[in-house]
């Protein structure tokens, strides 16, 4: 495993064995698209290019990386972001970890409430939670794990996103 930099608060991986893919990214917004495409390409064999699985992965990775770069690492060019991806038990799991001090993911306002609808920010984590099958943070709040299920018969299916309010 890559140990070129340390992640405060890092915990055991939520999958067995080493990850299938590890990306060590510079703290630069320009690296987001390349990283998202690399993960989608890596996961293509398990249906990641199909419909909603692709959308879930793209939105989850994109928003998690943007948050890590801008808020976690506070746009510090000296810092790094790590992406680890594992495909296990019919699910794609991706963990995105920054070198920041973390935040409280429970304290976010609902951007769909009428009083928040005109606010320009606050939709990234909301979209992740709405779209992905699981989203969880470590205790420190500097590492987010995204889970997208790819069970047989489910990959390209239209999902009732509204059920995960």
């Amino acid at each position: 495993m890559d140990r070129r930099f340390s992640f405060p608060g890092a915990c055991d991986a939520p999958w067995s064995g080493p990850p299938d893919l590890v990306l060590d990214l510079p703290n630069d917004l320009a690296s987001i698209e390349e990283a998202v495409n690399a993960v989608l390409e890596h996961c293509a064999f398990c249906g990641a290019n199909r419909g909603r699985v692709r959308l879930k992965l793209r939105v989850g990775l994109w928003e998690a990386l943007a948050n890590a770069i801008l808020y976690g690492n506070q746009a510090d060019p000296a810092k790094r972001v790590r992406v680890e991806v594992a495909v296990r038990d019919s699910a794609i799991t991706a963990r995105i970890t920054d070198q920041g001090s973390g935040f409280d993911p429970h304290s976010l306002p609902d951007p769909t409430r009428p009083e928040n609808l005109l606010r320009p920010e606050g939709r990234g984590i909301f979209l992740m939670r709405k779209l992905l099958d699981e989203v969880f943070y470590n205790d420190q709040g500097n590492s987010v794990t995204l889970v997208v299920r790819i069970q047989e018969g489910n990959p390209g299916r239209e999902t009732d996103f509204g059920a995960r309010a």
Partner: protein, 110 residues
């Protein structure tokens, strides 16, 4: 340039080519604010050639829509693909914007 503007029947139509994301959203904001300063009030943002909009891109559209409305104008959206429309629906921004299936439909009555 990911954003090109042309005037169609008195309406400013802005094409978003590729993506509207955290890395380029300020360019779109700047372009529309400049047009507002020049006196333009009616806008259509056309997403026919747009692959992705991230949450920052959604946010800049919200912010622009607010500014356009404040001066009595209107900003409409056109040609969102199924994935992009899903993002608007999940965030309930489909209730904030007038969204049309084509540029022609968006221009009608504007």
């Amino acid at each position: 340039m990911p954003f090109s503007a042309e005037k169609v029947n008195g309406v400013m139509v802005i094409d978003v080519e590729g993506q509207l994301i955290v890395g380029n959203r300020q360019e779109l904001k700047q372009k529309i604010l400049e047009e507002l300063d020049r006196g333009e009030r009616r806008f259509v943002v056309d997403f026919a050639r747009t692959g992705y909009i991230d949450s920052s891109g959604l946010g800049v559209l919200v912010s622009l829509s607010k500014k356009v409305r404040e001066v009595g104008g209107e900003l409409r959206l056109a040609n969102l693909n199924d994935d992009l429309r899903t993002l608007f629906e999940l965030t309930k921004l489909d209730t904030l914007f007038q969204i049309y299936d084509s540029r022609e439909a968006a221009l009608q009555g504007l």
